[in-house]
Structures are given as structure tokens and as C-alpha cells.
């Protein structure tokens, strides 16, 4: 067992691209679920429309990179509006089913071979990130402290990613202290009371859905740029479930909850993954019990168990306040 590798890989995961991507997705869910009480289970679709907006813009239509980023954000806003109009009047469980269905509709549609010319089908799209890496200030090489290091491209993605995380946290912090944020939290607690005060609950919910969706779409951009490709199956429903686990782990309705949640989540996931893989290759776990292809399944089992245990025993997560979690049926 090489503990240096185990620790360095785990720490790299905790601050690496996955942590950034899922932090952004989770901040979006935190706005929707944590503050407003909306159960949006289609966050993967918001990430996917962002990523596909960027990739289709550059790789298929040959547009400018920054214009394509705008297309991605506009698509996320459009998705939120299309999704919100029929669903925001519905009860929480209906909203969950419909948003997850919408995410699957998007994924199935883009992976269909009939639209291969535009979306690349199951292969997805590549070669759209050139303009982003042209302005990479890091020279070629490895950057890091001790055994934890990233190459120049990853460094640039991480720099931009964590700046985006900081900006999103700042925006969420300021907004939730504003009258607008107080209305959102009031909607979570008692929609009818807010309505009786003359507020347009539907409009506020829609704004929350759009804001969370756009933050999720930023996560989609980072995902697309960090891998240099978009593929439909990277936006499966599990992505959303992971992001929910992160929100609940860190503490819903807390500004820094998603950040802490994502760092701990990926640290733990990668740590357990590495220990299992090394134990298998060192022969501590016989192949009859588990081989390396089964380690991937263990990750999902652990996440599922973690999600169940958190909701049952500690729904407020690490930082949250139990009274602020919208988990009761209404």
C-alpha cells in the first residue's frame, strides 16, 4: 500500500476539477432546494445544456468561444423557463419526477444518432476549448506543493473554477441577505403566507430556478473544459444525486455548505477508491471478493448509503440548521 499516493490523489481530488464542478452544481441546488425548497432533480440537464451550448457553438457552428459561453448560459435560462412554467405550481414530489424526466429527455435527445451532425451523438463533441487555453497564463509544466500537483491546463481550469465558486458564494451570500433572499426562504417555509403578503410566489420560484440553473451551467462549462469534451452520458441522473448528497452533507441553506460538502465528498470518494484499488493490487483483498472493475460500483454504494444515513440521522449535514431543511411534505 503506497500511502503517499493514496493521500496525494485524495487531496488532488478534494481540490481538483471534480470538486469544482460538483461545488458549482451543488451551489445551484442549494439556491433551489436549500433556500427556496424546490426539488430540482434535473441539475444534470442544466450542466449539460451549458456544456453543449459551448461545445455546439464552437465545434459545430464555428462561433467565437465567448459567444458560445453566452449561448450556454442563455440555454440554461431557457431550460429553466421551459421547465419552470409547467412544474413550479406542482407539489415537491411531482417537481422531482418531472425535472428528472426533463434531464433524461435532454440526454436521450443529444445522444440520438439522427442529430449526430450537431451534437456528435454518443461520441459527443471535442475541440472547442482552444480559445480558453490560449489565454492560459501558466507555462507548460507541473505546479503544486509536495506530492500534490496539477499540470498547466488543469491549473488554469482550477484557477478559473475556484474563482467562479468564490464569486457564486459571494453572490449567494449577498442575495440571501437581501429582501429577495428573505422572500425565497419564506417561500420554503410557507408558500401561502408569502402569497398572502402579495408576493408573486411563482415569479420568485422561477428566478430561483433560473439562478440555480445558471450556476449549475457554470459547472457544466468547467466539466467540458476540464475534459476537453462533452459526452451525453456524463450527464446521467447520478450527477444530480451526487450533487444533492454534497448539498446535504455540507448543510443545505448555508453559503459555504456546498463547498465544504464537495471537498469532503471527493476527498472521501477518492480516498476509499484508492485504498480499495491498492488493497486489491497488493493482494489484501482477494480477487474473488472484489476486483478493480467492481471498485466503481462500491463508490456508488457508499454514496447511496451516505445519502440515506444523512437524510435519516443528520438532515442538516455539517453546518446546517435542522429547522431550515425543507424535507417535510407540504
Amino acid at each position: 500500500m503506497n500511502w503517499d499516493t493514496i493521500f496525494s490523489v485524495s487531496i488532488e481530488a478534494a481540490i481538483g476539477t471534480n470538486a469544482v464542478i460538483y461545488t458549482l452544481a451543488a451551489i445551484g441546488i442549494n439556491v433551489q432546494f436549500g433556500y427556496t425548497g424546490l426539488l430540482n432533480f434535473g441539475q444534470a440537464a442544466f450542466m449539460a445544456v451549458g456544456a453543449y451550448g459551448l461545445a455546439v457553438g464552437v465545434a459545430t457552428w464555428g462561433l467565437n468561444f465567448w459567444l458560445s459561453i453566452c449561448i450556454g448560459i442563455a440555454s440554461a435560462v431557457a431550460l429553466a423557463i421551459i421547465l419552470g412554467i409547467p412544474t413550479l405550481r406542482l407539489r415537491a414530489d411531482y417537481l422531482a419526477i418531472v425535472t428528472i424526466a426533463a434531464a433524461e429527455i435532454f440526454r436521450i435527445t443529444v445522444r440520438t444518432s439522427n442529430y449526430r451532425d450537431v451534437t456528435g451523438g454518443t461520441d459527443g463533441l471535442q475541440q472547442f476549448s482552444g480559445a480558453f487555453f490560449d489565454i492560459n497564463p501558466y507555462g507548460k509544466g507541473q505546479y503544486g506543493v509536495g506530492p500534490v500537483s496539477f499540470d498547466d491546463r488543469t491549473m488554469w481550469v482550477l484557477t478559473v473554477g475556484w474563482i467562479l465558486v468564490a464569486l457564486c458564494c459571494l453572490v449567494v451570500y449577498l442575495l440571501m441577505r437581501s429582501p429577495w433572499g428573505r422572500v425565497l426562504k419564506a417561500i420554503r417555509e410557507d408558500e401561502d403566507a408569502v402569497r398572502s403578503l402579495g408576493k408573486n410566489v411563482f415569479a420568485y420560484k422561477m428566478q430561483s430556478l433560473i439562478m440555480g440553473g445558471v450556476i449549475g451551467c457554470l459547472g457544466g462549462f468547467i466539466f467540458a473544459l476540464s475534459t476537453g469534451s462533452v459526452t451525453p452520458d456524463s450527464y446521467a441522473p447520478e450527477v444530480t444525486f451526487f450533487a444533492y448528497t454534497i448539498v446535504i452533507l455540507g448543510g443545505a441553506a448555508r453559503v459555504l455548505g456546498p463547498v465544504v460538502g464537495a471537498v469532503i465528498f471527493w476527498l472521501f470518494i477518492q480516498f476509499s477508491d484508492q485504498i480499495l484499488r491498492q488493497a486489491i493490487s497488493a493482494g489484501y483483498i482477494p480477487n474473488s471478493v472484489m476486483d478493480t472493475t467492481q471498485v466503481g460500483a462500491v463508490r456508488f454504494i457508499l454514496v447511496g448509503l451516505g445519502l440515506m444515513a444523512l437524510i435519516i440521522f443528520r438532515p442538516q449535514g455539517i453546518f446546517g440548521d435542522k429547522r431550515e431543511i425543507a424535507l417535510d411534505a407540504r
Binding site: 406542482l90 414530489d93 419526477i97 426533463a102 440520438t112 454518443t122 447511496g304
Partner: protein, 426 residues
């Protein structure tokens, strides 16, 4: 996906689009880059067909002929774009390409990957589709739709009754469907029983699992006073755990039962069907009718409907609500297990088969009206028909999209569903 492939074999062979393509992306470990595929016409492998591979617009890379199982593979020097062409002259007599303009396919191979290439061939080739006008396909598609709808209905009935009696939106219901199929596979292939006793045992296993789940898990959560939204998220976690436990023990590749998998199709007028499918449909109809009659006629059925209507009132009039819920869980899980077995007979046993139909089950349940057993039946049949008939107008791969869109539209105009009672849903 596979189900439709079996049903549509009469017109087009080898429609393993999703399976084929996903196999291409998942086979990175097999060494160098290559293109490969399997030539199947109406379920039968096609051998000795010549395949040529060229770099795009450039030099020939290699050529091969398909083997006795219809499989072929050409190694390519590295990632890049390639032209793969099938020599139509070497196809056996009576077999042709479904799309004659797709004799040469342009594909991208990624470094380190083996790319699966799909040539759609069928008896009669292009004419197999063209002589069939759209409307000639309606009877077959409608039949397939009813067949699939009945399978969805079996899963939907349990889901809807559990929702009705406990308020739980159970995202782990699909895993009960998978459990039925995997248990049947275990008894059938690993233990070596015939599929019929294996299926009966698997149904018992699924029912017992439903009973235990409620006895030791959901019942405990209800007594703790866990909220309904919290329970829904718990069920998502449970679904993740169960699905990946199946992946852990059963592995990722789809498998077939040992019996009744290869059958000669029957020709019933405009509809082609295998005997196994017909028997499956008969079982579905018998079970659904039995459950329906039990709900209408028996004391227990009346008690179930009373609990679904108003649990507190039912409890105060002397009905043992917990017992009713436990029976609903057991029966619901058992018939979901049967649905899984029948689905696996038509497709294959696969660790995420239940998850793949879960949203369609939800669509059926919501379409019919959440919490109503008969609504679930009607809604599921409509979803099944929608899925199959929509392939007249939209690509095969997108057929589930139509059903999911209907789900959203129904929620817009009649959120309580077709048979549901008008109540506040927002």
C-alpha cells in the same frame, strides 16, 4: 432497447444501437484501437461479408470478413476518422442493407478505444422498410405497445398502491423490477432450474424483499416520523445502493435466461410475436385482473382502498393500517418482480433495467393518477402505446422521449391524471 429489437426483427435486424454504441465506449481496456461490429439480420448472424476500412480520404487500413457469429474486427493504427464500408455484393442472397446509402460509414475512433460500427441489415434489405408503409406498421407497433404497457403496468400498480397507502414516492421501485429478473437468472442459470419454477421462486424472493423492506426499513422510518420528501430522497439513496450492489455481484454486461430465448416467431395476421411473449402477456393480464378484482371484491382490497383514501379514517374504523401497508408492499414488490422477469425474457437481464423503465413507470402512474391502481393500469397502457407508436414519427432511439413529454404535458393540463380525483397538487 432490446425488446423493440426482438419485436421488430420481422422488418429490421440488429437494432442494438444503444448496446452496440455503449460497448464501443466501454471497451477501452482491450488494447489498441480498432473498429468492430456484429452483422445480424433478423436475429441471425451473417457470415462472410467483406468489410473494408480506410483512413478518411486516404489509404486503406485493412479489410476482413465477418465470422460465423457475424462478428468482424479491423485493427486501426491510431485514433482518427475512418471510412468503414460494407461490400454489399458479399451479402447472402435475400439480405440487404436497410439504408443502401449507408454502405460507407464515417466514424471517429478515439485513441485507446475500440469503436463499434453498426450496419443495419435485414431480409429484403431496403425494401423491407419501403414496402412497409407507415400505417402497415401500426398493428405490430400497437401490439408491442400493449405488451410493453402491460409490463409497465405491473410495476406501476405496486408503485401507485405504495404511494396511495404511505405517501412515499419510491424511486427504488425500479430495483424491485431488476431484483425479479436477477433472482430468476440466478435460479435459472446458476442453479439450473427451468425458467418457470425459477420465475416462481424469483417472484417469492421479490415479494419477500418488499415485505422485509417495509418491515425493517420504511415502517421504521414512518414510526420515526421522517417526512415524505425526506423518505423520497432516502429512496433515491436506496436505489443507488441496490443498483450498484447488482452491478457489484451481477456485473455490467447484459445476460440472457437459459430457456425460451430463441424461439421461432408466430405470424398472427399483421402481427409477429414469439410464443414466450404471448404467454408473458397472458400472465400479465391474469395478474393485473386478479389484483384488480382483489382490490374491488375482497375485504383486504377494500381495506387497501380505504387506507389509500384516508389512512386516519381507515385506522379509526378498525382497519390495521400497518398490516395493509405491509401486504401492499409484499404484493407490489412481487408483481414488480414478475414484470422484471417478463421484461428480461424480451430484452435481457441487466443491472439497470429497472432504473431504465422507472421514469416510464412514473409516467404511467402520473398519467393515470398518482395513488389509484386502475389509473396506473390505464396510464401505463397509454405510455406503452405512445412509446411504440411514436416511432412512426420520431427516431427509434428517442421513443422514450415522447412518453416523458406526455408526462410533462399531462401535469400541465390535468395534474391529477386521467382517473385521479381533483386535488391540490401545487
Amino acid at each position: 432497447m432490446r425488446k423493440a429489437a426482438i419485436a421488430l426483427t420481422a422488418f429490421l435486424g440488429g437494432l442494438l444501437i444503444v448496446l452496440g454504441l455503449s460497448a464501443g465506449s466501454a471497451s477501452a481496456q482491450e488494447g489498441g484501437e480498432a473498429v468492430r461490429g456484429t452483422l445480424v439480420s433478423a436475429g441471425q448472424p451473417v457470415a462472410n461479408v467483406k468489410i473494408d476500412v480506410k483512413a478518411e480520404g486516404g489509404a486503406p487500413v485493412g479489410s476482413t470478413v465477418s465470422d460465423a457469429k457475424g462478428k468482424w474486427r479491423v485493427d486501426v493504427p491510431g485514433g482518427g476518422r475512418y471510412e468503414v464500408s460494407l461490400d454489399a455484393g458479399t451479402l447472402p442472397a435475400g439480405v440487404g442493407l436497410v439504408n443502401p446509402d449507408q454502405q460507407t460509414l464515417h466514424i471517429q475512433v478515439f485513441s485507446g478505444n475500440v469503436r463499434t460500427v453498426l450496419f443495419r441489415i435485414a431480409p429484403g434489405g431496403a425494401s423491407s422498410e419501403k414496402t412497409q408503409s407507415k400505417w402497415d406498421r401500426v398493428p405490430q407497433l400497437a401490439f408491442d405497445g400493449i405488451n410493453f404497457g402491460l409490463i409497465i403496468a405491473m410495476a406501476a400498480m405496486g408503485l401507485s398502491l405504495i404511494y396511495g397507502t404511505t405517501g412515499l414516492t419510491n424511486f427504488a421501485h425500479g430495483e424491485l423490477v431488476t431484483l425479479g429478473a436477477i433472482a430468476a437468472y440466478y435460479f435459472n442459470v446458476t442453479v439450473g432450474l427451468n425458467l418457470i419454477p425459477a420465475a416462481i421462486l424469483a417472484t417469492v424472493v421479490a415479494g419477500a424483499f418488499g415485505y422485509l423492506q417495509d418491515r425493517f426499513f420504511w415502517g421504521w422510518l414512518r414510526r420515526r416520523g421522517t417526512g415524505l420528501i425526506a423518505m423520497m430522497i432516502v429512496s433515491i439513496g436506496l436505489a443507488l445502493v441496490l443498483r450498484h450492489l447488482y452491478l457489484y455481484f451481477f456485473r455490467g454486461s447484459p445476460r440472457q435466461f437459459a430457456d425460451y430465448t430463441i424461439q421461432k416467431g408466430l405470424n398472427l395476421g399483421p402481427v409477429d410475436v414469439t410464443p414466450a411473449t404471448l404467454v408473458g402477456m397472458a400472465i400479465e393480464i391474469v395478474i393485473l385482473t386478479a389484483v384488480g378484482l382483489a382490490l374491488l371484491k375482497t375485504r383486504l382490497g377494500k381495506a387497501t382502498r380505504a387506507v389509500a383514501d384516508n389512512p386516519s379514517l381507515a385506522a379509526s374504523s378498525g382497519i390495521d393500517v400497518e398490516r395493509v401497508i405491509r401486504i401492499v408492499w409484499t404484493v407490489g414488490a412481487a408483481i414488480a418482480g414478475v414484470a422484471g422477469i417478463l421484461l428480461a425474457m424480451q430484452q435481457s437481464v441487466n443491472y439497470q433495467m429497472g432504473f431504465q423503465i422507472l421514469l416510464l413507470v412514473f409516467a404511467g402512474v402520473i398519467l393515470g393518477g398518482l395513488g389509484t391502481a386502475f389509473g396506473a393500469l390505464v396510464g401505463s397502457l397509454i405510455v406503452g402505446l405512445m412509446i411504440q407508436l411514436s416511432t412512426l414519427f420520431i427516431p427509434e432511439e428517442m421513443k422514450n422521449v415522447g412518453a416523458l413529454l406526455v408526462l410533462i404535458i399531462v401535469l400541465l393540463i390535468r395534474p391529477q391524471g386521467i382517473l385521479g380525483r381533483a386535488e391540490r397538487v401545487g
